[in-house]
């Protein structure tokens, strides 16, 4: 009797445990992406970004039909490239980032976020050779932002990047604080309104928008 009771309770316990696990455990894709996104967001040094880029690339090669792993892998590399001092090395990183972005664009050519990422990539190219590349890439960058806006006018990240880029451009190039501020304010409004069902959806930019706006106060 005692044994039977024990077996029953054990079975019950294991059922409960199993059930808990099933609830808490997301599908492996979502959990792998979530942990990689977390690593990327908390990255403090280029090595951690390289690590997150690697993780996203691994997911991308296993899940060839999803654009997001390619997107995040590329995004990690672009973020990393801004810390790379050696121009030749930076170009290599950006070449890889562009390859990954192109793969994502092939899957989802009309995704606004991908064009925002393209616009985030170009300025890093410019910094390698500002005089030689400036003119061409500034034009390409603003064209990408326009494209991103036209595909989804509610995507706050296009406004954020436009604002930041205008802020960094000298007034003589059509930039400056006066031009940038209203754009960043618009970005903030869009960030506050922005929702997406997908928990993995890109969410970067809001904090930086606030920081930039605070600096402008």
């Amino acid at each position: 009797m005692k044994t039977k009771l024990m077996i029953l309770s054990i079975t019950l316990i294991s059922l409960v445990v199993w059930n808990m696990q099933a609830k808490g455990q997301q599908d492996p894709y979502t959990s792998a992406m979530k942990s990689a996104i977390e690593l990327m967001e908390q990255a403090l040094e280029p090595g951690e970004l390289a690590e997150s880029a690697n993780r996203f690339e691994r997911i991308a090669t296993a899940e060839k039909s999803k654009w997001m792993p390619y997107y995040y892998a590329s995004y990690s590399l672009v973020s990393m490239s801004y810390d790379e001092g050696d121009g030749a090395q930076r170009d290599l990183i950006l070449d890889r980032a562009q390859e990954l972005l192109d793969q994502a664009l092939e899957l989802e050519p009309k995704e606004s976020e991908l064009h925002v990422l393209q616009a985030f990539l170009y300025p890093s190219r410019i910094l390698v050779d500002p005089m030689g590349r400036g003119m061409t890439y500034i034009e390409k960058m603003f064209a990408s932002l326009e494209k991103a806006k036209s595909l989804n006018p509610e995507n706050p990240r296009s406004y954020f990047l436009e604002g930041v880029n205008k802020l960094n451009l000298p007034p003589s190039f059509g930039g400056g604080a006066d031009v940038a501020k209203p754009i960043l304010e618009e970005a903030l409004v869009k960030f506050e309104a922005f929702t997406n069902e997908d928990p993995l959806w890109p969410s970067w930019g809001e904090k930086d928008t606030r920081t930039e706006l605070e600096k402008l106060q």
Partner: protein
């Protein structure tokens, strides 16, 4: 109870999964650790990143045979089959450095390219547009590259002891018949096309590929822009005229239109002219560019331009001792349509048609001369990407040229010629190893007029001697049909011939480039004549010959000085030729032994000004002094020029504006290009002389542009 614990144990083990570890090291060829490499099992999420010592430790639940992948930026991806059930030893993976545009072996002999996309390029398209001495002219910018000689009264490219007609221009693969605006004697010309139209340009000073024909010394290959990136419109007011441009981008196509009106009247009033103008040059120019993307990789490009230029002067004919009234009107129409596509994974196609018509009316001292030059060409090229390391290109083109000239003086003389020029070429490019590349090509050419078929072999190779350095070599046979002005009187002439030998060394690290190139060029069958414009066919022959040898240096540094960029070109040329009406082989009048260009550009961030300055030097050029018994033994004084440009970027009424100032010959050097001598000696028995000088001393052009 015992049973229970067994069950529990089984449960616990099952939930933890059967984890395995796989450890190892990643290093490069030289045994240096590769950190941050991505190591994973293919098709799974299981993987890790190598640490700073190159070590990795991978945890997986997979079992059995799997593919282990290691990849890192700048290296070739490595794949390794592993059996996870038996593998217990650390794995050592050696990564090979990937061949990228930066470290790839590339044939550079004779080539200077400007591109924003290709990293092997020496210049960017911005460099071409912003070189101070060039004043926005492509040829002017390439005149600051080593190998070209300064010939200030012409404005065209003279390359390595070659005449200006020995340089041919190609646009989107097809030869452009009249790439320069028409001009008058001793008035320098400019290229017809704005540098802003091209995403890529290439200047070859010799040893070029079998795809190019009908050029003895040099080619300039221009690739027009792809789809416009965005809608734009701008208007510019210049001290020399007006310019308006407009571009529209659709999803898969774009259209760009430009109109230009230029008039030199104001400039002539402000800057003293050494020419007695009766009509300042007036230019009207319209350009249209249409692009259509077809399918995934196809691109159709259509280009059309129309321009008219007219001017008049009293030409100081010192030789005859007369002031001759001269007028010129030129109309030029050019159109070029090309299509490129990827037919399959292995096959690429490029095809195009071009048509041009250039009609020129010159009235020289009451004698009207009308010249009409019409050309049509079709071209088809295929590329087969046999392997990553081996590719073959082949194709052919057909050019048809109509030429007519009518001279009316006492009687009317009319000449007409039609020439059909078919050609075929094939070329293979083989990357034998990571260090060695070889390009072999052959070209077959024929002209219905000259009736002399030719097979022209061309070979070039490159060998990498280090990560940043390489040697290149090029050899080839070239020929070109004589200029129409001779052929019209003597249609039995043969093509002029040249052989090129080039050896080049290049060191390039990041954004510093050093190049040195030595060359030898042998000319044969150059056209000779008894007197210029002789109407007698027997007065012309192909008995001319010549040679050129020299060494070119180039140094560019875009890295060391913050915000600055500069390059230095130096060329040494040793040449002589017997051609035209020369009595013997001498250094020709357009050749100077030493040519130097220093180009410096800087962005002044605080002032928001982009500034550029160029210094050009050329040693004295030969001229023939009839007072001396030796032919061509005169030497002009050295040529010097300092040019400056400033571009100020600003906004007006929230529109982007550019104010641009370009000053040539800032310090007002008195340059002399040569001397004219009177046809008859004066009372003392000497022939009086007069210097051939630039049309103007210091000159400035101011532009204000606003983006709408």
């Amino acid at each position: 109870m015992r049973h229970l614990s067994t069950i529990l144990l089984i449960l616990l083990t099952a939930s933890a999964g059967a984890q395995q570890h796989l450890a190892g090291n990643i290093m490069d060829r030289k045994g240096r650790p590769v950190s941050f490499a991505n190591v994973y099992l293919e098709g799974s999420y299981d993987g890790c990143t190598s640490d700073t010592t190159g070590a990795f430790k991978l945890t997986t639940t997979l079992t059995g045979r799997q593919v282990l992948v290691a990849s890192f930026i700048g290296f070739e991806k490595q794949m390794l089959e592993v059996d996870l059930d038996t593998l217990r030893w650390p794995v050592v993976i050696i990564l090979e450095e990937a061949v990228s545009e930066l470290n790839e072996v590339v044939i550079t002999a004779g080539i200077f390219s400007a591109s924003d996309e290709k990293k092997s390029a020496t210049l960017s398209s911005y460099d071409i547009a912003s070189t101070a001495s060039a004043v926005g002219d492509i040829y002017g910018a390439y005149a600051t590259m080593p190998g070209s000689q300064k010939v200030g009264e012409e404005g065209m490219l003279f390359v390595r002891g070659g005449e200006s007609y020995e340089t041919k221009t190609y646009m989107d693969g097809m030869v452009v018949q009249s790439p320069f605006f028409s001009s008058m004697p001793d008035v320098p010309t400019r290229g017809r096309f704005s540098p802003l139209l091209f995403s890529e340009t290439l200047f070859s000073t010799g040893g070029y590929s079998a795809e190019y024909g009908h050029a003895l010394s040099s080619i300039v290959d221009l690739t027009t822009n792809g789809l416009e990136t965005e809608d734009k419109a701008s208007v510019a007011v210049m001290s020399v005229g007006l310019n308006a441009s407009w571009a529209k981008r659709w999803e898969k196509s774009s259209l760009a239109v430009t109109g230009l009106y230029a008039n030199s009247t104001l400039t002539h009033k402000l800057f003293k002219q050494h020419v007695d103008w009766t009509k300042a040059p007036v230019l009207g120019d319209g350009m249209l560019m249409f692009r259509q993307q077809i399918g995934e990789n196809g691109l159709l490009k259509s280009f059309g331009s129309f321009n008219s230029i007219s001017m008049g002067m009293n030409y100081d004919n010192f030789e005859a001792g007369t002031m001759d009234n001269m007028k010129m009107d030129n109309l030029n129409f050019y159109t070029n349509t090309s299509y490129t596509d990827q037919l399959s994974e292995k096959w690429l196609i490029r095809t195009g048609v071009a048509y041009s018509r250039d009609s020129e009316k010159i009235n020289y001292a009451g004698i009207p001369v009308t010249t009409v030059n019409t050309g049509a060409s079709v071209k088809l090229t295929f590329t087969h990407l046999t392997t990553e390391k081996f590719k073959t290109r082949f194709g052919g083109d057909f050019n048809r040229g109509w030429y007519s000239q009518t001279i009316t003086s006492d009687s009317t003389i009319s000449m007409e010629m039609i020439d059909n020029l078919p050609s075929l070429f094939a070329e293979t490019e083989w990357k034998i190893s990571k260090k060695l590349a070889l390009r072999t090509g052959i070209r077959a050419e024929y002209s219905s007029l000259l009736q002399e078929p030719a097979l022209l072999p061309r070979i070039s190779a490159a060998y990498k001697t280090g990560t940043y350095s390489q040697f290149s070599f090029a050899w080839g046979k070239y020929r070109q049909k004589p200029e129409n002005e001779y052929l019209q009187f003597a249609p039995d002439l043969s093509p002029e011939k040249a052989d090129h030998y080039i050896l080049n060394f290049q060191y390039r690290k990041h954004r510093r480039t050093f190049r040195v190139e030595g060359y030898l060029k042998y000319y044969d069958e150059l056209v000779k004549f008894a007197s210029l414009y002789s109407l007698v066919a027997a007065d012309y022959n192909n008995d001319g010959y010549g040679r050129a040898q020299g060494i070119d240096f180039f140094w560019r540094d875009s890295e060391s000085l913050r915000g600055s960029d500069y390059w230095i070109s130096y060329s040494f040329l040793n040449t002589s030729r017997d051609y035209q009406d020369y009595p013997e082989s001498v250094i020709p009048s357009f050749a100077s032994a030493h040519n130097l260009s220093v180009v410096y550009k800087r962005f002044f961030e605080r002032l928001k000004i982009l500034g550029g300055i160029t210094y050009s030097f050329a040693s004295g050029r030969p001229y023939n002094d009839p007072n001396s018994p030796v032919f061509m033994d005169g030497r002009t004084r050295a040529y010097n020029d300092i040019s400056l440009n400033l571009t100020y970027l600003t906004t007006l009424f929230s529109k982007d504006c550019i104010i641009h100032l370009n000053i040539t010959n800032l310090l007002g050097f008195d340059n002399v290009f040569g001397y004219s001598y009177a046809g008859t000696p004066d009372e003392s028995g000497t022939y009086p002389s007069q210097a051939i000088v630039p049309t103007t001393g210091t000159m400035a052009v101011l532009m204000f542009m606003i983006s709408l």
